[in-house]
């Protein structure tokens, strides 16, 4: 592994020096500098995922498949039906996630001239929903990305998110008569703390006993599911039949900027700020440097006198806090209560986002915006085109595969160049 990384570095210097590698003549394809490849590969991965998603939509549509029985007699009908299905589906996806610019413009004009804002609000609703969906993704993606940077695979974002959400909700509904200026930060802090504590346990075990964090965070996930089942049916249950917490006090809610149907809240800006802080922490501070060094090469870090135990603990706790904030932003900004199955899939989605964003805070933000858009658009696609929302999970799985195995994408699009810098992920749990 060490040798291979050294090799990678030398190839990069060669290509950066605008001197094509010597082996260039043997392979065919387009030569793209590594710096561009890091941008291009994720784009191509998402594109390919969408294309395969379209194929899945078509071949599971009985009406379209039926037209292919007569393909040789009427190829036009089959192709038109195919095109129509894809266009309807992805059109609904696009419309459901971004809205229509013309409607926004007309709504705006109407609002300015008459003061009637209903049209304007209806027009911007889709895009605000996308941002709402992206908010917990940003936090979650940052959580997993921070872990990756330290060589930790935090599969437990799901559990940390749930515990964070419960902690935030508890502070949100149990404390009353506090000014929002104190109550809201307190609830946010509680959420972050809940996630941090939940991650600290596997972090401590990893740092002290070497117990692998992947297994332990998976176990912590299941413990958290059982714990929240119990809390929601017992101590934290709201009066009534449903296993949900009471509504939080209005003073703990993240402020919203538009009247009711629009749920866009301040959590989105908080997420962007936190992404900036994570970037600053990872790349501009000593502690961040240590975390990255431990992730890239623990032996070198130890030799340089860095404390691996401290870095692992710190990275895990911060990762948990970010995951906790993901749940918190959803509770304080959108739902205002926590119910069973609250976390459903956020944790695994976060892994996808961290990978797609190449474990870079800004990359994670872009990836989250993309997947938030896809998720909220898919809801519309389900109602307009009748395509189950789960298609997004299929696309997500495919995107991870393409990101993790860039060789597939390079082969598909005939892209040459040895390989771009690869983020170090986990090491196996053997020694």
């Amino acid at each position: 592994m060490g040798e291979e990384r050294k090799g990678t570095a030398s190839t990069q210097t060669v290509t950066r020096g605008k001197q094509p590698a010597t082996g260039a003549k043997k392979e065919r394809g387009i030569l793209i500098p590594p710096a561009w490849q890091t941008l291009l590969l994720p784009v191509l991965a998402v594109f390919t995922g969408l294309v395969i998603g379209a194929i899945v939509i078509v071949i599971t549509d009985a009406a379209v498949v039926a037209t292919y029985r007569n393909f040789f007699r009427a190829p036009g009908t089959a192709l038109a039906a195919t095109w129509h299905t894809i266009a309807t589906a992805y059109g609904a996806l696009l419309y459901g996630s971004l809205g229509n610019p013309r409607e926004v413009y007309e709504g705006m004009r109407l609002y300015l001239s008459t003061g009637d804002n209903t049209l304007f609000l209806r027009a911007i609703w889709p895009i605000t929903e996308s941002l709402v969906a992206a908010t917990p993704y940003i936090f979650g993606g940052l959580a997993v990305a921070l872990g990756f940077r330290c060589g930790l695979f935090n599969i437990g974002a799901e559990g940390q998110l749930g515990i964070g959400a419960l902690a935030a909700a508890w502070v949100g509904y149990s404390i009353t008569n506090l000014p929002a200026l104190i109550h809201l930060p307190l609830a946010l802090l509680a959420g972050a703390l809940g996630g941090a504590i939940w991650a600290a346990i596997p972090g401590y075990l990893k740092a002290k006993t070497g117990a692998h964090e992947v297994v332990n965070t998976i176990m912590m996930n299941w413990i958290s599911f059982r714990l929240s089942d119990w809390l929601l049916n017992g101590p934290m249950k709201a009066p009534g039949y449903r296993p949900i917490t009471p509504n939080i006090e209005p003073t703990a809610a993240l402020p919203r900027f538009f009247p009711p149907p629009i749920r866009f809240h301040a959590g989105f800006f908080l997420a962007l700020i936190v992404a900036g802080i994570v970037y600053w922490f990872l790349f501009k501070t000593t502690l961040g440097f240590e975390i990255r060094t431990v992730g890239a090469n623990p032996d070198a870090a130890r030799y340089a006198g860095m404390s691996i135990t401290r870095s692992i603990m710190l990275a895990m706790v911060l990762s948990g806090a970010l995951a906790g904030l993901a749940g918190t932003s959803q509770v304080l900004g959108v739902d205002h209560w926590v119910g069973q199955g609250f976390t459903a899939g956020y944790g695994f989605d976060s892994i996808a986002l961290a990978l797609l964003g190449k474990s870079h805070p800004f990359g994670v933000v872009l990836a989250s915006l993309l997947f938030g858009t896809l998720r909220s658009g898919a809801t519309r696609m389900q109602s307009l085109a009748g395509i189950p929302i789960d298609i997004i999970s299929i696309i997500q799985g495919l995107v991870i595969v393409f990101i993790a195995a860039p060789a597939i994408i390079r082969w598909l699009y005939r892209i040459r160049v040895e390989r771009a810098e690869e983020v170090v992920l986990t090491r196996g749990w053997g020694k």
Partner: protein, 422 residues
């Protein structure tokens, strides 16, 4: 409270692992005494049913009626005695002893929980085995993969997809065996993909497995929403394997109804546990698998094809997981529901670690996990004032403790999770 006391002692004079265990035994004994032994009405009795609840081939035998308090005290005594002995001189088979103590604790707990009532022990042990089946199959898949050095946390996804394939194929062909074969094949295909990613593309194995899990959730829910929900009778209603009573053996009281009156997949699980054990530890192939998992370079030097061994092991593991997936549909309810595996693949992973990467160990821990699962249902019926959720947490907590190496150190294969570069 107990742990701080232990830590304080640890600082005063260093405690070895065996003393540590002794203290754990003593604490278990004392807790049993404090919580279950005291404050019981005199003369109250616990009745353990030894005949299964269903119509069975087994020869009926009288139920076991025990006086509650003396039984609990007997268990407490055994625990304390073992604790003192362990503390003073230590045993070689400390882990086995731990098992005995755990058993005493559980038995004392059951005696307490069912005081003044009757409790069908055989019925519950039987349902433990049934509930353990998918967990054990998942664990066997994990063992096959990880012994060859490939981490596979995609078992959950593999089982989910093969569960769906099994029920659809079985319903369409009206043949359960066809469904089972299809499930095994789909398990093989998905794990072959995982093997290709892990072995050939050298992708991070956890990333690849996560992708498979996400894809599996999406794909099965998609197909479910698009096809199965509308055509339940045509696609998603297969019926299940009949209960097969093995002649003679099923007539044995207690053991008969637990082990020898089950569905096909339970038997397959029992057979596969033995088979995988023999394969791994008594055949040339098994030796190669373990060599590749421990030290691939050495294995390669000796002329073993590392890639081939890993591919075959992972695919075989996937086939076993495919059977595990089939259990969920054609083995138990005859219908596919979204995300019906509900984490059993991950619990199988825990069982594999708890069982120290060995088939029999994994089988035993799967039974334990299955037991916890059926116990919590039973306790709800008995109205025991312990939230069932906490009982369900126990297996995960135990796995984490085992991973720390305090109790029964678990060592994974040395090259587990590392891609091999030739």
């Amino acid at each position: 409270m107990a742990t701080t006391a232990v830590r304080a002692q640890q600082k005063a004079f260093t405690l070895g692992r065996s003393q540590w265990l002794g203290i754990v035994f003593l604490i278990a004994g004392l807790l049993t005494f404090l919580f279950f032994g005291r404050g019981l009405e005199a003369g109250i009795k616990t009745k353990f049913g030894l005949n299964p609840g269903f119509a069975s081939q087994a020869i009926p035998i009288p139920d076991l009626v025990l006086p509650t308090q003396p039984t609990i005290y007997a268990m407490v005594l055994i625990m304390l005695l073992l604790g003192v002995l362990q503390l003073v001189r230590g045993f070689r088979f400390a882990d086995a002893l731990l098992g005995v103590v755990a058993l005493c604790f559980v038995f004392a707990f059951l005696t307490w929980a069912a005081r003044g009532k009757s409790f069908n022990l055989v019925g519950m042990l039987g349902s433990s085995l049934v509930r353990a089946t998918p967990i054990a199959l998942a664990a066997l898949c994990g063992i096959m993969c990880e012994r060859s050095g490939v981490v596979n946390i995609a078992i959950e996804g593999i089982m989910l997809i093969s569960a769906q394939v099994a029920v659809v194929v079985a319903t369409v062909t009206k043949n359960l065996y066809a469904g089972l074969v299809a499930a095994i094949l789909s398990g093989a295909i998905i794990s072959a993909f995982h093997a290709a990613m892990a072995v050939s593309f050298k992708v991070d194995q956890i990333v690849s497995a996560t992708a498979i899990n996400i894809f599996a959730t999406g794909a099965t829910s998609f197909i479910s929403a698009r096809f199965l929900e509308k055509n339940t009778n045509l696609l998603n209603n297969s019926g299940t394997f009949r209960i097969i009573s093995i002649p003679l053996l099923s007539k044995i009281p207690i053991l008969g109804p637990i082990f020898f009156e089950n569905g096909l997949i339970v038997y397959l699980m029992l057979i596969l546990t033995v088979l995988v054990h023999i394969l791994l530890f008594y055949t040339k192939w098994g030796l190669r698998v373990r060599a590749v998992g421990e030290h691939p370079r050495a294995a390669d030097t000796l002329g073993i094809n590392v890639y081939l061994v890993r591919y075959v092991s992972v695919i075989l593991g996937g086939m076993i997981a495919g059977i595990g997936g089939a259990y969920f549909t054609i083995g138990s309810v005859g219908r596919f529901d979204e995300i019906m595996t509900a984490g059993k693949g991950f619990i199988g992973l825990a069982a594999m670690i708890f069982g120290k990467w060995a088939p029999f160990g994994a089988f035993a821990s799967s039974i334990l996990f299955g037991f916890a699962d059926s116990l919590q249902i039973k306790l709800q019926i008995l109205r025991v004032p312990i939230p069932s959720e906490f009982l369900l947490m126990a297996p995960y907590i135990v796995t984490m403790i085992v991973l720390t190496g305090v109790v029964g150190r678990a060592e994974p294969p040395a090259a587990d999770g590392q891609p091999y570069e030739k």
